[in-house]
């Protein structure tokens, strides 16, 4: 969806305003007026229906990020002590998905029973638990809701999942007032791509639910097919602090996210192989020392 930047004029001072196709907001370089751009609706770029406002500010996000990094014992120390170079608040476009999931399932349900069995070696009977498998087929219908999937090419779904959950009771009807003065993106993934994500996530969620739905003492060979009906998908803007952390001069900064509503931080943190090697080496050393002392004291003689 590579679209040309828009050329508009600032409503405040009339200066030319160049807005990238992925941006929903802009600041006038001359008079600093915060604009919200309302583009014509297309299937891939619907109007936002909901937004969650920021409740964590940038300083708090930095503090939470530091705590998050500190908590990673296996990360390189330089990274654990690093501070973010840049922390930017962004309203991330995502889709809120809900549907009715109808599944057919089939499984072998294990029902336990006990039997007395003669043990020829010990010459006595003992009680043993055995399992009898019975086939169960059935149908299952439930609502799938409150599912969020990214609508941005920049932040993949796995990164969004890292800072979920959002408290959806804080959902507001979208209004420019929630994003005015902040950076806000337009969806950059096609609706179809996001819908596929949402469907996959829904089916995974139902599969998990079905596992808990099985009766019996155990079950095996659970097979199911799920169809989704009455699907609904609405665009929602989520508050996210995007943080760039540089911890080595020769590498690009790594990106971490902080949930702008709950403060949950997340990101892919590299592990320090040096630390792991030291740990393994240390453990081996202790073992070796023990063996040596043992040999001297004649424990193994």
């Amino acid at each position: 969806m590579a679209l040309a930047p828009l050329e508009l004029s600032c409503e405040s001072c009339g200066a030319k305003l160049v807005v990238q196709a992925t941006q929903r907001t802009a600041r006038c370089p001359y008079c600093d007026s915060p604009s919200v751009i309302d583009r014509p609706v297309t299937p891939d770029r619907p109007d936002p229906v909901f937004a969650i406002g920021f409740s964590i500010d940038g300083n708090r996000a930095r503090v939470l990020l530091r705590e998050y990094l500190k908590g990673h014992v296996w990360a390189p120390n330089k990274l654990r002590e690093a501070t973010a170079e840049r922390v930017e608040g962004l309203y991330l476009p995502a889709y809120l998905f809900s549907a009715i999931a109808e599944s057919g399932y089939r499984a072998q349900i294990g029902e336990n029973y006990t039997e007395m069995e003669y043990d020829a070696r010990k010459k006595r009977t003992r009680r043993v638990t055995k399992t009898e498998y019975r086939t169960l087929e059935g149908r299952h219908r439930c609502y799938v809701d409150n599912l969020l999937v990214t609508a941005s090419e920049g932040i993949p779904n796995s990164e969004l999942e890292g800072i979920e959950p959002f408290d959806l009771s804080g959902l507001r009807r979208y209004a420019p007032a929630v994003i005015s003065g902040w950076t806000s993106e337009e969806p950059s993934l096609s609706r179809e791509a996001s819908l596929e994500h949402a469907r996959t996530e829904s089916r995974d969620a139902v599969r998990l639910e079905l596992r808990g739905f099985m009766p019996g003492d155990s079950h095996r060979n659970l097979q199911s097919t799920t169809t989704l009906a009455d699907e609904a998908m609405d665009l929602v803007l989520l508050p996210v602090w995007v943080c760039a952390v540089r911890w080595r001069k020769d590498t690009a900064p790594i990106r971490l996210l902080v949930n702008g509503q709950t403060g949950k931080a997340s990101g892919e943190i590299p592990v320090s192989w040096a630390k792991i090697a030291a740990m393994v080496g240390g453990a081996l050393g202790v073992l070796g020392l023990g063996a040596l002392i043992g040999a001297i004291l004649g424990w193994f003689a």
Partner: protein
């Protein structure tokens, strides 16, 4: 809820005017006045007081003007504490309640103190309107369970099914003033859809408040519906006599609930310095639940007498 009820287009449940999403299936409620346009529009949010640009401020959780400080609120889900919308009338007045109470005291039986009827002194008799919901709904329940029907070597065999349940005018209590046992007794005594011309015999009753925000209240109601569904499954739909591992998934449709206030009389009486409580339905004087003391002397006499009798029988047996 004001004006005409709106219904969710997916599950047909009633949604309030200020709901952003359906409380049952979370479908977005339709937006009124959505306007589309052919060209991009640039908007600057202006303060209505001083005309400066407003931006979203974290401290206010709303757009605010940096110059004059005015705040522009955004529509967000309302979660009010609500009051009862309907009152069921009292058809039992104070005199009738007193009579029923006296009759009850006299009917408690021999194990109660002999002077309970004469010595119990009624301290207070108070009309109370306790709160709950009356709801209608359809529930489509998918279930799976182990039951003893069709069992082979094991005691259990797995079963599954889907059942349509429907509810009309079912009362779910939301009261904190009454105990669950009292509520369980009172609920069947009410006529949730009384004749329009029924006169209310009491007008100064204390009306209990829902001390829950709407979202919590709704969650409780949905839980109650699911409990009812499980009970009905157990009673009518599961094969066999015994079951275990009952699992259910529910699609709730067409839920509409009214918050109602239900009439009851709360009586407190004193006997030998101690207070006891009795609750009586405001629509059926025979529906009454109360605490009452037992006579230790009489119970001891019966137990003692029984022991003596057993001892005698044993003695006789030994002698013969």
């Amino acid at each position: 809820m004001t004006g005409a009820d709106r219904n969710c287009s997916r599950c047909e449940s009633v949604i309030a005017d200020d709901d952003l999403r359906c409380p049952i299936c979370n479908l977005t409620t339709p937006v009124i006045n959505a306007v589309d346009h052919a060209d991009p529009v640039v908007d600057i949010l202006r303060c209505s007081g001083c005309g400066a640009a407003m931006t979203y401020e974290i401290g206010h959780r709303a757009a605010a003007c940096a110059f004059c400080g005015s705040v522009l609120d955004v529509e967000h889900p309302a979660d009010p504490m609500e009051e009862a919308e309907h009152r069921l009338p009292f058809t039992v007045d104070a005199d009738r309640a007193r009579q029923a109470f006296a009759a009850w005291l006299g009917s408690l039986g021999w194990f109660r103190p002999g002077d309970l009827r004469t010595d119990a002194r009624l301290e207070t008799i108070q009309p109370l309107r306790w709160v709950g919901w009356v709801f209608d709904a359809q529930a489509e329940v998918s279930w799976a369970a182990d039951t003893d029907a069709g069992a082979n070597r094991a005691d259990w065999a797995p079963h599954s099914g889907q059942t349509e349940l429907s509810y009309d005018d079912v009362v779910v209590p939301a009261t904190r003033g009454l105990t669950p046992e009292e509520v369980a007794l009172l609920v069947p005594s009410y006529d949730a859809a009384p004749e329009a011309d029924t006169t209310d015999l009491v007008d100064d009753a204390t009306v209990e408040r829902f001390d829950l925000p709407r979202s919590t209240a709704r969650a409780q109601l949905v839980q109650a519906v699911e409990r009812l569904a499980r009970r009905r499954l157990r009673e009518r739909h599961l094969p066999g006599r015994r079951f275990r591992n009952l699992k259910t998934a529910t699609i709730l449709r067409g839920l509409s609930a009214r918050r109602i206030a239900l009439p009851a009389w709360v009586l407190a009486y004193r006997y030998k310095g101690k207070l006891y409580r009795t609750v009586l339905s405001g629509q059926d004087a025979d529906c009454l639940k109360g605490e009452a003391p037992y006579s230790v002397v009489r119970i001891a006499a019966v137990v003692g007498g029984g022991l003596v009798l057993i001892a005698l029988v044993i003695l006789l047996g030994l002698l013969v």
